[in-house]
Symmetry: C3
């Protein structure tokens, strides 16, 4: 950025060229001073543009937390609505404090002794803003961190003790997720595709490409949910002894659609926002802004294709045009494209979405067969489609886009694009280490909670619903009879409100 002003020696050189008279000295001072101010202002402009871009992306990513809350609320039964919404609010709130205190340090801490496994600087935002990171970067990463915990809360919904929720959520947001994000996204992460610090070069001279976190965010959340749901077991009544499957439908499709659209809206911060800087020219009239736009397009197309595939797929399989399935299919497409969104062409995004719809359908079938109960399909969706997304990058990453986004010369790219198998190898390594790391940490945690009888609520509470037993009442009072009529409400019960209207 300094090339606009006079670099060291420039002024002396200019003076020499102009003839070394007093006038020449004044002329060169005049010119260099002007150029300096221009340079400073250009630097400031770049900062302002980039930070504006990053902050607004952050706000969009934050809106996903609202999306999760509504999606989760709509997908559970009415009696557990308050419970699941509280967990979503606390994901954001507890995550804010824990990521501020330790999470950011584990993930992006920069100091004198880089460590490919874990960061250990910048505790409590100490020394932030630095030359590399401003406050806005912290906020952006926080919004990502809370998304991972939100995913897991869906898997274990409707049957988990609130205390267990607080414990696993802090652990996941504060420690497990930050470490994984360190591997992939920090400048000294051992798996990172843009590693610039620390011993050793890029893994397989490529590193794993996980641009916005199909693995880092979605697989982490999904696999944590897998173990939680497995250890807890299915909700009461979900599978009967004869092998029949009862579908527990959520209490409000409207909230599911609301949540899905909000997630879609937020994903425009999640994927394109992961460029962090927008004012980075490539050559000619292209720059990161082109990449950002392309990322938004690939994201959109993958989700759209997954939705349409799911629509017709489920129509063929089940005979219904089902909006809930379409919403989940859409989200699966987004989770899958998240890894490669910046390095694939729009047509490849369509393939990504098409396959991810079938991945989700397949895993859902498998889950039903294995009597695995995940109220939001979070494991199948974020874990399964997330893993597919990582493989997809290894197959379809485009040479030019990889170079533009990650720099470097003739580095490997997608197998099907002629870039050899090295990138795919790195992607497979990413899947395996994430699955392994999350299983070891979260599996043990859930098992310990289970042994301590802190994990699952009592059958009575589960049947009555946690809102009444733990959270002070039901979420909805549509018939309030002006409250002192409570008795009447009970009498009315579910029988419909014939009496109510008369009142």
């Amino acid at each position: 950025m300094a090339s606009f002003g006079c670099a060291v020696g420039d002024e002396a050189m200019l003076q020499g060229l102009l003839g070394a008279s007093a006038n020449a000295s004044a002329v060169s001072q005049f010119l260099c001073q002007k150029l300096e101010t221009v340079s400073t202002q250009l630097l400031a402009t770049t900062r302002a543009v980039d930070d504006s871009y990053l902050l607004y992306s952050t706000y969009l990513v934050f809106a996903m937390q609202l999306g999760f809350a509504m999606l989760c609320a709509g997908s559970v039964r009415a009696k557990n609505t308050m419970n699941i919404m509280l967990t979503n609010v606390l994901d954001a709130a507890c995550g804010g404090i824990s990521y501020y205190l330790i999470g950011f340090a584990f993930a992006f801490g920069q100091g004198p002794h880089p460590n490919g496994f874990i960061g250990h600087f910048n505790w409590g935002l100490n020394d932030i803003p630095s030359d590399t990171y401003d406050y806005s970067f912290f906020l952006f990463q926080w919004a990502f961190a809370i998304a991972a915990a939100g995913i897991t809360s869906g898997s274990i919904a409707e049957r988990t003790q609130f205390v267990a929720y607080l414990v696993y959520s802090s652990f996941l947001t504060g420690i497990v997720y930050p470490i994984v994000s360190h591997w992939l996204w920090s400048s000294d992460g051992w798996l990172s595709a843009s590693k610039t610090e620390g011993p050793g070069g890029l893994l397989f001279s490529s590193g794993a490409i996980d641009f916005a976190g199909s693995g880092v965010v979605h697989m982490v959340g999904g696999i944590a949910g897998l173990w939680g749901a497995l250890i807890e077991g299915p909700r009461i009544g979900r599978f009967d002894k004869h092998g029949n499957v009862m579908i527990f439908r959520g209490h409000s499709a409207t909230l599911v659609v609301l949540g899905t659209f909000l997630l879609w809206f937020g994903w425009y911060g999640f994927n394109p926002g992961s460029f962090v800087h927008i004012l980075v020219p490539y050559s000619g009239s292209r720059g990161n802004w082109t990449g950002v736009g392309r990322t938004a397009v690939t994201t959109t197309l993958a989700g759209c294709m997954a939705a349409i595939t799911t629509l017709f797929g489920r129509r063929l399989l089940d005979g219904h045009w089902n909006v809930l399935d379409v919403c989940n299919g859409l989200l699966g497409g987004f989770a899958a494209i998240t890894a490669g969104c910046s390095v694939v062409a729009p047509w490849a995004a369509i393939i990504c979405g098409f396959v991810s719809a079938w991945v989700l359908i397949g895993l859902n079938r498998l889950a039903a067969r294995l009597r695995f109960d995940d109220p939001l399909e979070a494991t199948q969706l974020h874990g399964g489609c997330g893993a597919w997304g990582l493989l997809f990058v290894g197959l379809f990453a485009d040479k030019n886009y990889v170079q533009e986004v990650y720099g470097g010369g003739d580095r490997p790219y997608g197998l099907f694009m002629g870039g050899g198998g090295k990138l795919l190898g790195a992607q497979i390594v990413e899947i395996l280490v994430i699955a392994g790391f999350v299983s070891v940490t979260m599996g043990l945690l859930f098992f310990a909670l289970h042994k301590l009888r802190l994990l699952r609520i009592s059958p009575e509470d589960e049947i009555a619903g946690m809102d009444v037993t733990r959270h002070g009442g039901v979420a909805y009072i549509h018939q309030d009879g002006s409250e002192h009529m409570m008795n009447m409400t009970n009498i009315n019960g579910g029988g419909g409100g014939l009496k109510r209207g008369v009142h």
Copy 2:
């Protein structure tokens, strides 16, 4: 975007001036190198600022799809909620694929190599091939896609609660993929025959002005509204909406006013991307540097707000006088009518004119609603009246109130180009606006009527009376949208339920739990 660096002979000239010695050459090279670097960074900055602006505007416009979904969901009866929401999700999803494959090409496919252009239809950039080029980056596609899906969303409101899902898929693809892109080509492409900023192709501006439809009162709202008009007319009203006695009918209220308000506010929020975002570029100084597109953008946001506010207040008092209620649903619709009207002229009128626009549009909507009731026309969301009627008023309004300076700033061109009739700019702009209303009405009718009639002939358009009474959610979409009482809040019923669930081992507990609703 030039003039900061050393172009053409600049370097040579400078070197000559400096004396032509070796030193002079080096000084010239040094200075030009610096200036070129600055120039290139300026170009990048402009791109980055403009693209950031456009992308976030596109995201806001996309949020309108969520607004539509909630507005539609709240405005239909509970038994059709899943159906209408599915259509809204698919508007976005199918629209994404079809606009990517063909829609964008029809709308903006002016080949940069073949600058003769085609005023009627574009035919380039299929599946984004050739994008990004010098004019269009990916973000422009995204922005236009968000517009395209809005049009289909409008129509889905008109034919809600009685249309077969297959027929919905067909008309929606047709509208988003072909009908709408062609209209948007006429008005917004650089070679569109009606465009107010036409710069390519044979013939100049229509009437020396072209029609001004800045963000699409005609292109988006009238297209969606008129398509809905024909769909609703050909299908006929919902069962029970009008009885035989010829009274003005039973009002079928939507199932949730909360969702209507939620949707309305989200649409308002999104409209800040729709109207101000239509500038596409924000870093365009007018002259002198203090004012530029950023001023226009801000003014557009203000006119949009004021028109909607005026329409809302007018509706509030108007409906109070007419019906005796302070109705939030009517106020929401009035508000949206004001937005639909100002969308055409938002960038070229003064704030005070926007207040007039909103005031009139409220009465346009009230009038059309009365007319619809008299003609026994049933549109569950008033979409034909609102988007069609207020949209048409908005196009006319621009012909009356467009301000000279603003038209020149936004559309450029000759200093004597026509502007609003009431502002002293003569009738030419108004004439072009009337042409726009007529051709859009004609084109949409000519394409959509045959389609709906065809669907009707093939018995694909309307659902059976049984399905309509039972509600499409149960018959087609796998169950009802809501299960507030899931069988465990009330113990007696739980017992009952549990039994019946066992009796229906198909695994779909919905039907059973549905029974105690």
Copy 3:
């Protein structure tokens, strides 16, 4: 914004230095021409970046209105949902017109010609006449409008479920049009007597510092909260809220926790426009260029988040200890209290101080709620306690924890200007903050008490007990907000309905269909 081009004698000086020959003149002209072009483009870029930033912030602040609507809707009983949502829509709509006509003039109308200023009230820019000028563009108006409507929204929560609609219209216009703009003039206009960045008019900064209320803990939240306090006091509690035995009362729970959470998250989302957006300009380097307003903006977003988070967690455990429940509704209110508190100091405190701010504000809210219950004060949304109480705490907090460097960066001024007491900056800032709390409380009381009493005398304030028990939606707003069972899913009921609709020939089937809820 200068220094890149050739100002004043720069060209002459340069030409003189170059030798004064024809060549020297030409070289000087060439260089100055380039530099001027660069300078002009720099100016445009700055404008475009700043306006883009401000506009999107304004849109986010506008989204808070949606948040308020959902929060209010969820917090009242189902029978008053339409009523409260209508008031929220009209806050925005009426506020748009009244702030356009007079509010903005009262708040920011410092005539550029008469730079003596008036510390108490502005009196220029009526109906945006004279906008855009060198200081204010349209986007600034839009941003301030979004703030103004927030204040009225707060008050509507306090007096929900028992206020006549007409009286709502009156107080809302009065508050948005006059009371709030005057307070915002004191604190935020360049000639406001309490402003921390006063630059115009007689007298310097109050106590050499002025009161720091960056985004309006006092200007917005206290104003809204105190107005609500008096409204709720003068109206008295809702029927049945407190029984005669003097117990702490029956809690009237809102009808939908989902809407409360939706509203809370939307408010959080919007607060990212409210607090960081209050910088207005983002492209302002501090020195050296690496840090600038963008750093301040980021820090503000972080402090805002951390304060809310700390308040939410404190509330969670605090209420668990006190009540035995993990209550999402309390957590939501705690969160909002933390935001209301940090709003004053968000830009001038460290992140760790924000955590303290949130922690204390949670206890402030819990304390005020206890007090309210003891005093039998009924505020359906806890708005007086939350916005009034936590807002006042926030203003004081700034006087304690404002950091020296941040105050200088954000507000400029002399290097020895006062800052937070606990940070070693002396008590002057704290004194100014206390003055702010007192004058806001006094001014709002002095204006709003007479208004509410007058309305009460004219029997315009409170609805009749019959209406209150039946719910305003049915009596005033044309029907209930929800119709989950619309009478056709169950055939017997349909028959019943149809009959009853005929029996009510007013054409409004709503009442009839409502009967089977």
